[in-house]
């Protein structure tokens, strides 16, 4: 009966992690027989410390095939055909590591000699890494080399900005240190999910927490155009028209503010923890005290205006005649005497007056009664007034939340949706409290490893935020990187993550056309690519592919041949997941639903030796540093913590001598010791050997720190909601700066800087932009084309793994064009037919899958797999919406993102047997 072969040789198990997607890391064990990795299994030794009991996502099970995939690039290679392009054979030939590194180092040294930035002011070296920062979990000490190098353009995106939760990243960080936002699922009882596909993208922690919540009785309403796996696991599916979610949420706010008694809201929260009571002056800025310049509120006891922090109990509604000033753009002071003003909350009530469920019905194609019921259920489940004790601290309990998915919270409409979701949380006091809506990680604020530490008092009783300056003196009129993130997007800040969160499609777009008054688009002299394939994963993939073919020197860390490294000059094979060595910080609160009660470090121990001549990434980084004369800076960066852990602390110092070449093992041994010491205040200094044996080391993480509310109470701060005075001012200033430079192509984006977002007809916006740009009759394109996350594939870069294809094919829709059955019947389309799907930009084709769980006006493509070079994947013959997506400024919002959404038409090609 046993399927196991009797073991002739030795057998052992290695601990490691999988961080192929943003919802990781998952801790694993790898079984090795006779030196060959044969099995992956969850690391159940971590059951007590990992939120999902040490379980590992399905993607991790692809790692054995990933290691031994016969299509792997196993030797350094160089291009022999100087012509680049899809139809050019690169003519890759095998070379030695020495030759490969010499080629790269010579080019880098040449760049260094010319200057780190080019004549246009852009960095000469660019680098693109895959989604969500996950490649850093595999690139060893490369961040230390990048840090040592100096300016690097990281703005050539591979999906960042157009495929991420972009508005949430920026506004979430701004409002509540929430680069990603999550319900407090372990306590939540009612969740309205606008397209958040947590069962596909929430990783093992998300799946486990939501399964537990369902069993607990949490009701989740899934509002999205198709019935995703998350919709399938929800209590209710509401098929909403694409990109109309803001109208639904505005109507929910309307119901709470206009149809329910005011005392059902969490008035103390609004009064004390938000800007609701701040008075708003006639020009839309807070009315402030003349001397202190602090925003004023109306003292309930006296009816007089006092500074917000004067200890008065302020009114949320009503009005007062007040003297004061407004602080406008560019330090303009607008003085008022005896002006009648009202609190921001009163204006909010006015703002949503017309946004009734009946108004939303025709926009969303959802019955008003449904919208109203969901709003009321949201309020009725909120338990306003109740409390819960967390680690000895009494906190509000508000077990309701709203989550937003991709396409809902990026591009136009993302601001409205993020604002409405966060305001809905504020209205019931459910922001950053148990059961409510939480942020999970920090990427733009510093320090990035702890949300509480990132909370610093700023002006007006709000948290400080590292906005890119828009003042005349400080505004960066010349882009520092090709996405111009500091020039165009104040909110994106300037952390190491910011470049990739600017308008990354501008970087690609400008390779083909110049924008008025901007420095000419130059290709980078050297482009590094790792774990990403923008030739497939970005938009307008034809244009992106052509742009990268013009890059003079591209270095790809290559797993297999693919569509992007088809244009590479050098291929460097790095150790894959089960071969390399690295220490990773785990726990605390990280992406998506990664809320831990522990924090610490996990080791990615090599389970098996590298295949072929693949080399550990840390070795490659060290060699690059040595050959470019940056060894001292590189080692210093490692000592500072560029590889994940600072090597010295209060009671310990494992810093590496900066003038020596250190072995891979020596670097990570020092890191392990420092990590161990960091966790124990220097009491323990376990080295690499200990981590090899045990896999991970953690210490408790206080659950109280899941919530920002207690920190804000501690600091006496407020959430900068609902009124967006600061953004309003920044928008005016940005407009002035751009216009001073005679830049007008960003004017549409400036309109988003509103104190309260107005509803926009995004359908009309999309249609008019496409019609105008491509000069088409948009009525000829009757379908909305959307996409959805896939647990088996998203972020994984694992399209060439057979096991992933096999299991993904068991989840309906993968690799297909999903169409409503009724629509298909009307068009005479049968299941399995091959269809051409055409947008105004381009065409794709694939096999149709019919189902009932999708709106009749919507098509769905899960996974964009029209590969033509990647082995195995190139035989899928699957469609891709990426080829159909234009990079249009008109469809770019103020944060620099856009959404996976386009209008298409279909034609039946032939019957598929």
């Amino acid at each position: 009966m046993s399927t196991r072969k009797a073991m002739a040789g030795n057998e052992r198990t290695t601990s490691t992690y999988c961080y192929q997607c943003v919802a990781g890391p998952d801790l694993l064990k790898v079984r090795v027989q006779d030196g060959i990795a044969t099995e992956v299994a969850p690391n159940l030794d971590a059951a007590a410390v990992h939120p999902a009991g040490g379980k590992a996502c399905v993607k991790a099970f692809g790692l054995v095939q990933k290691t031994y995939n016969p299509a792997r690039v196993l030797y350094p290679m160089k291009r022999t055909n100087p012509r680049k392009g899809r139809h050019e054979d690169p003519g890759f030939v095998r070379i030695s590591w020495d030759e490969a590194l010499a080629l790269v180092a010579d080019k880098l040294n040449e760049v260094r000699a010319k200057g780190l930035t080019d004549e246009a002011g852009y960095p000469r070296v660019a680098a693109s890494f895959g989604g969500g920062g996950t490649p850093t979990a595999y690139m060893g000490t490369l961040p230390a080399f990048l840090s040592a190098w100096g300016p690097i353009d990281m703005s050539f995106g591979s999906g960042q900005g157009v495929k991420c939760y972009h508005s949430e990243h920026l506004y979430g960080e701004f409002w509540h240190r929430a680069f990603t936002v999550s319900p407090d699922t372990p306590l939540c009882e009612y969740l309205v999910s606008f397209g958040a596909n947590v069962e596909a993208s929430g990783g093992v922690c998300g799946v486990k927490r939501h399964a537990d919540a369902r069993r607990r009785g949490m009701k989740r309403v899934q509002i999205e155009p198709h019935l995703s796996v998350t919709g399938a696991c929800s209590a209710e599916w509401v098929p909403i028209k694409p990109k109309t979610d803001s109208a639904f949420m505005f109507a929910m706010i309307h119901v709470l503010l206009h149809e329910r008694p005011r005392d059902r809201l969490d008035l103390p929260f609004l009064r004390d923890r938000t800007s609701s009571p701040y008075l708003v002056g006639p020009n839309g800025y807070f009315l402030r005290d003349r001397s202190t310049r602090k925003p004023l509120v109306i003292d309930k006891a006296t009816g007089k205006a006092v500074p917000f922090d004067a200890g008065a109990q302020p009114l949320l509604e009503g009005s007062a005649v007040v003297d004061g000033i407004e602080l406008g753009a560019d330090d303009e002071v607008i003085s008022h005497t005896g002006v009648k003003v009202r609190p921001a909350f009163a204006y909010l009530v006015d703002h949503v007056k017309d946004y009734s469920p009946e108004w939303a019905e025709s926009i969303c194609d959802v019955p008003a009664a449904t919208v109203r019921r969901i709003a009321n259920e949201y309020l009725d489940h909120a338990r306003v007034g109740e409390t819960i004790e967390i680690e000895g601290v009494t906190l509000p309990l508000r077990p309701v939340s709203i989550s937003l998915g991709k396409t809902v919270n990026n591009g136009w409409g993302g601001f409205e949706c993020c604002w409405a979701r966060t305001v809905l949380a504020c209205l019931i006091g459910g922001l950053e409290v148990p059961g409510g809506t939480l942020g999970t990680t920090v990427r733009l604020n510093r320090p990035a490893d702890n949300r509480w530490s990132s909370v610093k008092p700023g002006d007006d009783g709000f948290m400080q935020y590292p906005m890119n300056p828009t003042s005349k003196e400080e505004w960066k009129s010349r882009p520092q990187v090709r996405s111009a993130h500091r020039t165009l997007v104040p909110l994106v800040a300037d952390s190491p993550w910011s470049q990739a969160l600017g308008p990354t499609h501008l970087a690609w777009k400008m390779q083909g056309e110049n924008l008025d008054q901007f420095p000419p688009a130059t290709p980078p002299d050297v482009w590094f690519v790792y774990r990403t394939n923008p030739a497939i994963s970005f938009w307008d993939t034809d244009a992106v592919s052509k742009a990268m073919a013009r890059f003079p020197f591209t270095v790809c860390f290559a797993y297999t041949h693919d569509e992007t490294n088809h244009t590479a000059d050098v291929l460097l094979p790095d150790c894959t997941d089960l071969e390399g060595l690295q220490l990773l910080r785990i726990g605390g609160t990280k992406y998506v639903e990664q809320f831990w009660d522990h924090q610490g470090f996990a080791l990615r121990a090599p389970a098996v030796p590298a295949q072929g001549e693949a080399r550990d990434f840390t070795w490659i980084a060290t060699e690059l540093a040595r050959r470019t004369g940056l060894l001292k800076e590189y080692n210093a960066a490692i000592n500072r913590g560029a590889a994940g852990v600072k090597l010295s602390g209060k009671n310990y110092d494992f810093s590496l001598p900066v003038d020596q070449v250190h072995s891979v093992e020596a670097i990570w041994d020092a890191s392990c010791r420092a990590a161990s010491a960091e966790l124990t205040d220097g009491a323990e200094t376990h080295g690499l050997e200990w981590f090899m044996e045990h896999g991970f080391r953690v210490k408790p993480f206080p659950r109280l720190q899941w919530y920002l509310y207690p920190k804000l109470v501690q600091e006496g701060l407020r959430f900068e909601l609902p009124y967006q005075e600061r953004l309003h001012r920044v928008g005016v200033e940005l407009g002035r700066r751009l216009h001073e430079q005679d830049i007008h192509w960003w004017d549409r984006q400036l309109a988003e800087y509103e104190p309260f977002p107005r509803w926009r007809d995004l359908g009309a916006l999309w249609e008019s932009a496409l019609a105008r740009h491509f000069k088409v009759e948009i009525a000829d394109y009757p379908f909305w084309l959307i996409t959805a996350r896939s647990m088996q594939y998203s972020w994984g870069g694992n399209v060439g793994i057979q096991l992933m294809k096999e299991v993904a094919d068991s989840v309906a829709g993968h690799g297909k064009i999903v169409m409503n059955r009724g629509t298909a019947a009307r068009l005479g389309v049968a299941d399995g037919d091959r269809l051409e799907v055409r947008s105004p930009l381009n065409r794709t084709e694939g096999q149709v899958m019919l189902c009932e769980g999708i709106r009749p006006d919507t098509l769905l493509m899960i996974g964009q797999f029209d590969h033509w070079a990647t082995p195995f994947a190139k035989d899928f013959h699957a469609p891709s919406m990426n080829a159909l997506m234009p990079m249009l400024l008109d469809l770019t919002d103020a944060t620099g993102s856009s959404a996976d959404l386009v209008k298409v038409k279909v034609t039946r090609l032939k019957d598929a047997a």
Partner: protein, 524 residues
């Protein structure tokens, strides 16, 4: 006592397929098989649509049809309920695969690799013993036994628990002893409503599905699925293991047995007709030879004789083993003392073939009880038809075909009546829609070739004596061909498996009315 069981929580399962991948790793299965499967099933019409994820696999039935039919004793059941396969005994006949109503068994004859050629990891774990034999989920019996030997509790201690359960990220899969009232699974089954798949087939499966109490409210039954495209993975699919070669055994075996019986019967009147007994035996032998070509391990085919006490396939083999020498000696010596027993053995052989089909519980079109009279009747009708052909060949010797022609036409008519009865029973009892469609499409041809044409030919032969012989032969050939076609259609084309059905589609956190679903079936 102990009875190991799996409990799948439909409220928790998200269809992520992690258990499927973990099973692949643990059991080193090939890309051509999934011992643990998770199906993605959609029900309802827009916008009132449900989608549910259903883990399935071997159900380790208390009354396992796969074990009952196994001719070799390779499939057995342990006292703790785990159904096992002895890979050294299995001959790869695939009878268990068509007997399993859960599509849980696999038979792979050639090595299958992820990328066409073997990777190192596949070479390391390749086990040639698994080629050409039946496989299925073992409940990770190695782990269970390891746990029992070391004092661990299967289902609670990961080292003693099936890999799919350990890997399940939603905690949707649970494993334990349902005979222990305090076990994890017993508690779950007490705390939540549950059902078992295809409970009406009385296999007493050890795979339970639990769901939310809110779904218990009586609700609608889904209308029959008339769309072959939807829920393809859950719909009954054509069984792939008994192909034309297997059908050939039923065709040749039935014809041969029938012809032999008629040859012996006719010899009462005219001993010369006994010569038809030789081609009859050749036909039976040809059928069995075709089977030999089909099975995964032909070199150990003698193991087919190991279990006549339960398996009709073993009985068929035993009957053939006795039939051939008795019949051959009977024909050689033309002695009724051997020919009569041989005819009885031929009838028994024919009956065993019919029973082989009817015991295949996994194929709704076969397990319908009326398939037995149908197969027996068509075997006799075919035999009578072939006898008419033989009669023409022997005509110069003065053999008269009138009586055999009447018998053949009467048998063809009887066969048609039994067919109608069988078809009506399929309709009444519920059958895969595709099975009905295939049989319905075949029906006019069957009646035309198998009854109307033979009748017309027989009448013509009666009315025009000058062409009586060829017309009688054509009449017989028509009856035989129709019978052959019937069995080919029944075995190869209409042999759709059971598919998947859910007694309850859970509401998952909501209060939608419960409903059942049985994709691809004519009635739920």
């Amino acid at each position: 006592m102990t009875r190991w069981a799996m409990v799948a929580d439909l409220e928790r399962c998200v269809g992520c397929q992690t258990c499927v991948a973990a099973c692949r790793h643990t059991n080193a299965t090939s890309p051509a098989e999934q011992w643990r499967r998770v199906l993605d099933i959609e029900t309802g019409s827009y916008p009132n649509v449900s989608r549910v994820f259903v883990p399935t696999g071997c159900q380790h039935c208390a009354d396992p049809p796969c074990m009952h039919v196994c001719p070799t004793t390779a499939t057995r059941q342990r006292p703790d309920g785990i159904v096992t396969i002895d890979y050294d005994l299995c001959i790869g006949c695939a009878y268990c695969e068509v007997a399993c109503p859960y599509q849980a068994r696999f038979l792979i004859s050639e090595p299958q690799y992820a990328y066409g050629r073997a990777m190192q990891s596949e070479v390391e774990r390749f086990n040639p013993d698994l080629l050409g034999v039946a496989h299925k989920c073992t409940f990770c019996v190695d782990r269970v036994d390891f746990g029992l030997e070391t004092g661990l509790t299967p289902g609670l201690d990961p080292r003693a628990t099936p890999a799919c359960v350990n890997a399940c990220i939603a905690d949707a899969l649970h494993f334990g002893d349902v005979d222990d009232p305090n076990s994890n699974v017993s508690r779950l089954l007490r705390d939540y409503p549950s059902f078992r798949m295809h409970a009406e087939l009385s296999t007493d499966p050890s795979f339970h599905y639990i769901y939310d109490a809110a779904s218990r409210a009586p609700g609608a039954t889904s209308p029959p699925e008339d769309d072959h495209a939807r829920n393809r993975s859950a719909q009954p699919a054509r069984q792939e293991h008994w192909n034309w070669k297997a059908a050939g055994n039923f065709v040749c075996g039935g014809m041969g047995a029938g012809l032999f019986v008629f040859a012996v019967l006719a010899s009462v009147w005219d001993g010369r007709m006994l010569i038809a007994g030789w081609p009859a035996l050749a036909l039976i032998a040809l059928g069995l030879f075709l089977v030999l070509l089909k099975i995964g391990r032909p070199l150990r085919s003698v193991y087919v004789l190991r279990q006549p006490q339960r398996s009709w396939m073993a009985r068929e083999a035993w009957l053939a083993l006795v039939l051939f020498p008795v019949a051959a000696l009977g024909l050689w010596f033309q002695t009724p003392f051997l020919l009569v027993p041989a005819a009885v053995l031929a009838m028994a052989f024919l009956y065993s073939q019919a029973k082989i089909l009817s015991e295949a519980k996994g194929i709704p079109a076969w397990r319908e009880g009326r398939v037995v009279p149908l197969v027996v009747a068509t075997g006799l009708a075919e035999g009578s038809g072939l006898f008419l052909v033989a009669a023409m060949l022997l005509a110069p010797a003065g053999v008269s075909p009138e009586l055999p022609a009447i018998v053949a036409v009467v048998l063809a008519a009887l066969r048609s009546l039994i067919w109608l009865n069988y078809f009506a029973a399929l309709r009444r009892g519920g059958t895969p829609i595709r099975t009905l469609e295939i049989l319905e499409a075949f029906r006019p041809w069957f009646f035309a070739i198998g009854l109307v044409l033979p009748l017309l030919l027989a009448i013509a032969a009666f009315l025009i004596p000058a062409v009586a012989l060829p017309f009688h032969a054509a009449c017989g050939l028509s009856i035989a061909l129709a019978g052959a076609a019937l069995k080919f259609v029944l075995v190869d084309r209409a042999g759709l498996n059971q598919g998947v059905a859910l007694t309850i589609v859970p509401s998952r956190g909501g209060s939608r009315p419960a409903h059942s679903v049985k994709p691809g079936w004519s009635m739920p």
